[in-house]
Symmetry: C2
Amino acid sequence: MSAIPCGLKGLQIGGGCLVFENVWYIAPLVAVLSILTGLYILWWVKSQDPGNERTRFIGGAIKQGSQAFLNRMYRTLAMFVAVMALILFLFLPHPIWLTSTPMNNVMLAAAYLFGSICSGVAGFIGMDVATDSNMRSATAAQKGISKAFQISYRGGAVMGLAVVGLALAGVSVVYFITRDPTFIVGFSFGASAMALFAKAGGGIFTKTADIAADLVGKIEMGLEEDDPRNPAVIADNVGDNVGDCAGMGADLFDSYVASLMAVMLLGVIIGGYYVELPLVFAGIGVLTSIIGVFLVNVKEGQEPGPVLNNGTYTATILYLTLSGIATYLLGYEWRIWGAAACGLVVGVVIGMTTDFFTSGDKAPTQRTAEASQTGPAITIITGFSYGLLSVLPPLVGIGVGSWLAYALCEGIGPGYGVYGVGIAAFGMLSIVGMIIASDSFGPIGDNAKGIAEMSGMKSETVDILDKLDAAGNTSKAITKGFAIGAAGLTVISILAAYKEVAEAQLGGTITFDLMNPVVMAGAFIGVAMPPIFSALLMLGVGRNAQRMIEEVRRQFREIPGLREGKPGVNPDYAKCVDIATIGAIKELLPATIIIIVATLAVGFIFGVQGLGGYLAGSIFSGLVFALLMSNAGGLWDNAKKYIEAGNLGGKHSDAHKAAVIGDTVGDPFKDTAGPSLNTMVTVIGLIANIFLPLFLLYALIR
Amino acid sequence: MSAIPCGLKGLQIGGGCLVFENVWYIAPLVAVLSILTGLYILWWVKSQDPGNERTRFIGGAIKQGSQAFLNRMYRTLAMFVAVMALILFLFLPHPIWLTSTPMNNVMLAAAYLFGSICSGVAGFIGMDVATDSNMRSATAAQKGISKAFQISYRGGAVMGLAVVGLALAGVSVVYFITRDPTFIVGFSFGASAMALFAKAGGGIFTKTADIAADLVGKIEMGLEEDDPRNPAVIADNVGDNVGDCAGMGADLFDSYVASLMAVMLLGVIIGGYYVELPLVFAGIGVLTSIIGVFLVNVKEGQEPGPVLNNGTYTATILYLTLSGIATYLLGYEWRIWGAAACGLVVGVVIGMTTDFFTSGDKAPTQRTAEASQTGPAITIITGFSYGLLSVLPPLVGIGVGSWLAYALCEGIGPGYGVYGVGIAAFGMLSIVGMIIASDSFGPIGDNAKGIAEMSGMKSETVDILDKLDAAGNTSKAITKGFAIGAAGLTVISILAAYKEVAEAQLGGTITFDLMNPVVMAGAFIGVAMPPIFSALLMLGVGRNAQRMIEEVRRQFREIPGLREGKPGVNPDYAKCVDIATIGAIKELLPATIIIIVATLAVGFIFGVQGLGGYLAGSIFSGLVFALLMSNAGGLWDNAKKYIEAGNLGGKHSDAHKAAVIGDTVGDPFKDTAGPSLNTMVTVIGLIANIFLPLFLLYALIR
């Protein structure tokens, strides 16, 4: 059968020309398939052996704690969401008392609510399956690595498929009803605001618990990691789920939707099939992920790390092939496909950089471990320096990659250059279902190991789970780099969309010229936002950890027999979970609200151009700090593990003590502040887009 | 006598109109006066009692070591300067084989050489008088604080007056000969390249010695600070002189010349008296500094800190008054004067912020000290977080200040807006002579205290010098903030000048539009430069400290009687100075050369607009990291001092140990990487300006 493209949406078969007018329907169809596949895997995971009573008790406590945190956080956020929906309804896209189409206000507020809910549901599902998988993975590990890996990985896959399925379904629904990507901005904003809270809250929770468990448990009481006598130990495990699983899921949901939305908006300027092309590519990407997650399996005796990486590479090639076929069949511009490939290559560069700077078998980590022999100060200075160096390749990659994508597509016609940048961003995120699966695998394996230790399984079982944990650490670092890079490119295209929309509404040309002092002033303020946000989160962790430390000390003091490990005496795990929960919710609000208010303030004072500079400034320093903090944190963690593996004196040596201090410094770097920054920058970009009509109307400097 | 302005450069006296055609001659005249005053104070300092034999022996060793370092560094740099002069001669302003005015090439190369030499001489004089003042201040402290303060402060004043005198004289000479500010770019580039090497080299030297002296001396051997048995102790004191005195002098020389040059270049676009106005304001500023340094005196029993601050405030008011009178008499635009005032206000904001975030009696430092009770990791996280917070007010100040200066002057006519920004930058630096005097006072007092301890003076004497040291620490932190802010505003005006010159040469309009992917790519690469530069310097400190630690250990091992303090047994101080010197020179080259080469590479690949983005990007992250590192470093230092003053358990408590680790991390932050960044960004800006003709001819993307 010969298939020759005929025109925009046609395929010549034999003599006729088959037209795919509504080819974008692949998106909702695949989205539903993704959700169904996720449900199937969920059923499969739940049908595995949950283990003996002790295992189920501990797994249950973790599940309970995680649910309690998410419930309480979502309840608190419901207030915020309701207020924001009301604001949107009253003022946007146009003040309700000035507009002739009040229905648009209803739609925008509804899209916003819908985005918040979808994001919340995705996070909830991911967390739920993660807490089902961890005890089952631990139980399976008693028989070997293959099944244990499969359960951990598939648990992550449920999260991955749920996130992309819900995201794509949600965007499709909004688009189907409105046929106008403007309303997808509302959906995206709902998802992003939710993600910001989830990341910040989860990040504070997890490090609060981690630091308190370590400082009182390990250092003051001399307990080992995951000792069930430690009252903070369940909270620590809960933290892995709410921070890494639910948080990262919400984060990538947000990036995915935002980049899809941005490129659709840019497509509106061009017109034609370019609005729907991203949906087609998205459908293909989700299909790739559905196939991909079934290809990742570990045989007995195999190392899990390379298997995970191979899965990512296979999916990349599969995606490029399938999207290439679609480009050919549907007669799309090849240069657009090239831009998507650019994005994927940048993703690989960032992943490789992260791997080089954080893996235990590479020079930076080993040098930092060696520096630990001269004391903790040198550990910090050396690791921080390597973290600083690690920002160069990703930034050059993003800069050159976005320029290449632009240069590639620029020749097609006006508007295609920035569209190419948007496609590159979305290209990086196309196989995000796989990425999330690899990422969630990490905390599930970590939890499984904790559960195995707490329920006293054999050391061979723990060793197997340790392998999963170590592989998960590296894959987690790589996917974090991926998420940061994708957010960087996405926000560039959000900035481009912002500009295009502003020009359309103003009917003139807008430049974000750095020599315009309003743009420059905006940029200077924007540059300061990521540092401020990081600082507030980290100070929040410090304060919250302090509260929890006191509670842990109190329990050891007041519960008789706890310290000695008298049988039947259990600490009050729930109380610690409670403190971490309340504290995290209390501490996440100031940081996030300050960012939202500052963005609105800059928009209303410095106007559209000032806000453009502000957005660019926040991208610049946001990327630098996100990369620095994630990579330095990962490096310190692995330098500690390198010493623990018996190098440079091994555990309990002076070098190890210094490395532990480095690791503790790195904890809030890599798990609280660093990974929240890309969400923060995305939220800034979406606020800029969504409130644009008001800035045009009411800003001081116009 | 009634004085009414009459026209551009006239003053109506009685009935006639007196014309000040060459009013800018005030600049060279005041410059010569400044140098002469400096020489007089130098003579005054040298005529003070240098103390007994022991004091002179130690002071002599410090002086010798400092001279040895500067000699060796300047010898190495002579090679670089010669090569660069040759490059300039061959290629710029136009390739010598293409130009009809080869004399211009000779002039540019000559101006460059002249700038390098002036900067070197200023550094040398400052270092020389500092090493004369320290022992004399220690000797005088035996009689009371008044004379000791006077000697320390006047030692710093010599440096201040030499720097501004030589800078202003140099610029005046180049301008007198060429009447073309373009050649001042060459002079400025010479000064900046020299400053970059001096700051980086001095910064590596000083922290190498400091860390080695602390780690082996204090921690391994249990010696006190400044114990003469410690072989690294002289090197440590030498470091204060070469890093803080010579380095900071070269740095401010560079900022001063660069900001003067930039605003003169911007004045060329406007024409008229605007080219020479900055020279008039500069002359008034130097005059203010000459008067100001004589007003700063401490009476017995008075605290030196407030006296230093009052001196700065008095000079600020005096400068505003005198420049206001000049504006009135010479008929200058009042809005230009207003822009200068804007700059000074921003300087005050930055100074106040620095003071708040680093002073021992303010919340951030005390909270960090309290956090030290939970261990060193929390010290680092807390201090780092406050450092991050500290970037907000200066960045907002610079952003809003430059916008205000622009908005104020924009109305005068085209080209005046950016000129206003340049004037604001220069306004901040107008009283730089005073600033340098306060700044150099710090290391002189620090050294005096060291000499007093090493020569066994009474504890009352040491206490007096301790007060000078503490006051110096705060004033040093404030002036560092000042230097960073001034560099930020200066580089904005350098960027503006770059754009104006490029437009003049191209004959078209250039915008640095962030939506131009070439500008964006340049910005992403530029943003990465300050982190890379910081990392390379800090890793250099680590490696160099390692070498010196081994030497110190060797001396304790091999010199009999050294450890026990046998009378007559001296360590081999010179060997340590030697190691620090050779290492510093070896380590400073890669970092600085990478920056220069990267800038040229971006210019030749991405062209004029890409380089504009690159420059802007490097300003953004350069300011963030410079502020973060300087302030966090200062904060950790003072948190340690707060505990040492008897709070939270005092010396030798666990909190103190944690705070010492924070302080050691902060050392290369605040004394190596942080303060080198502003020079780095200035150098990038000057390379962009000076190589512009070649980028216009040969860049890949034009």
